[in-house]
């Protein structure tokens, strides 16, 4: 069996095992260099038994690669128990920072300014605090699933979790009429609250974006490099 066939087999096996493109490229570069050295040494194509079986090699590469990453060693922990708490924590952080910024802005407004602008900004902060964490966590964990070698299966687990969270999340903002009597409540509701699509759809957008960015990298030809 000649070197190009071995190389092509190994590349197929590595891609089949959902290893990220940058790692497949690295492995193939070193494997091809090694094959060329054997050809130069023996003036003939390297035999299968000298380089090793491509299937076993690919499995060895996949096992070692996943063992190097926490997500590769514990995909269940990372991709089922990670996204929801991260979304909630990020939401809490954005709400805190957003309303703190609003308070600062309020301090510098002229005495005669209307309050409609602050009301509008408060609603914007509320929406940002709901939507941005969903999108960021969906995109981040989705990409992580590919880059840690876990593959599309865990990407879709994250996508489903985040879209479900987006559909069930709701917030209620009561603007203050006097200092200190405003309230913001965030929670989950079933059946979904009205306008649930306003929150779930951005999560879907993030899913599509993460998929496109990850798969575009995965599907580009390796030989070009």
């Amino acid at each position: 069996m000649n070197a190009p066939s071995l190389s092509a087999q190994l590349r197929c096996e590595l891609v089949r095992r959902r290893l990220p493109r940058f790692y497949v490229h690295r492995v193939m570069r070193e494997f091809d260099d090694h094959s060329q050295d054997i050809v130069a040494e023996r003036q003939t194509a390297p035999e299968l038994d000298r380089l090793g079986d491509p299937r076993q090699l690919a499995q060895h590469f996949a096992t070692e690669f996943r063992a190097q990453h926490f997500a590769g060693r514990h995909p269940w922990l990372v991709f089922t128990m990670g996204p929801v708490p991260c979304t909630i924590l990020l939401s809490a952080l954005l709400f805190t920072l957003g309303f703190w910024a609003l308070e600062l802005l309020g301090s510098f407004q002229p005495a005669g300014a209307t309050s409609w602008s602050r009301q509008y900004l408060a609603i914007v902060v509320c929406q940002i605090g709901m939507i941005v964490p969903l999108m960021a966590v969906t995109f981040g964990f989705g990409r992580w699933a590919f880059r840690s070698g876990c593959g599309a299966r865990w990407f879709w687990v994250v996508a489903v979790l985040e879209c479900a969270l987006g559909a069930l999340m709701h917030s209620q903002l009561k603007l203050p009429t006097m200092p200190g009597n405003g309230t913001l409540s965030i929670g989950l509701s079933y059946p979904p609250a009205m306008n649930w699509e306003l929150v779930a759809l951005p999560a879907l957008v993030a899913v599509g974006l993460a998929w496109h960015v990850s798969r575009r990298g995965e599907s580009a030809p390796l030989a070009a490099e």
Binding site: E30, L57, A67
Partner: protein, 124 residues
Amino acid sequence: MSKLRTNPDFLNGVPELVVLRLLARQPMYGYQLVQSIRLVSNGELTFGEGSIYPVLHKLEAAGWLSSKSELAGGRSRVVYRVTASGTKRLAGSSAEWQRIVAAVERILQGGSDECSITFGAVAM
């Protein structure tokens, strides 16, 4: 309490020890390293040459090796070298290996006599 292991460390650590030792002498790329292993071991250690790369990648991920593209033999190749923490790891692994070898040697040379004395005492 020590953790029971299915594969003792000295079996899992042999490729790591060999690779670290040879790369500590001089930085090498994969093919060169495989040839060195074959040469220095007088052909006793043989394996599928492609399997050297998962070992190298694992050691690099652990911080014991570093890699860099360099010109070698007229071509650009990925050359591996041992890091400072790799040198420490090598020293520890070598000491552990010597300890294991000495223990096995004791068993092979003196084990059967000690066992017969022990069982003889029990039988009586």
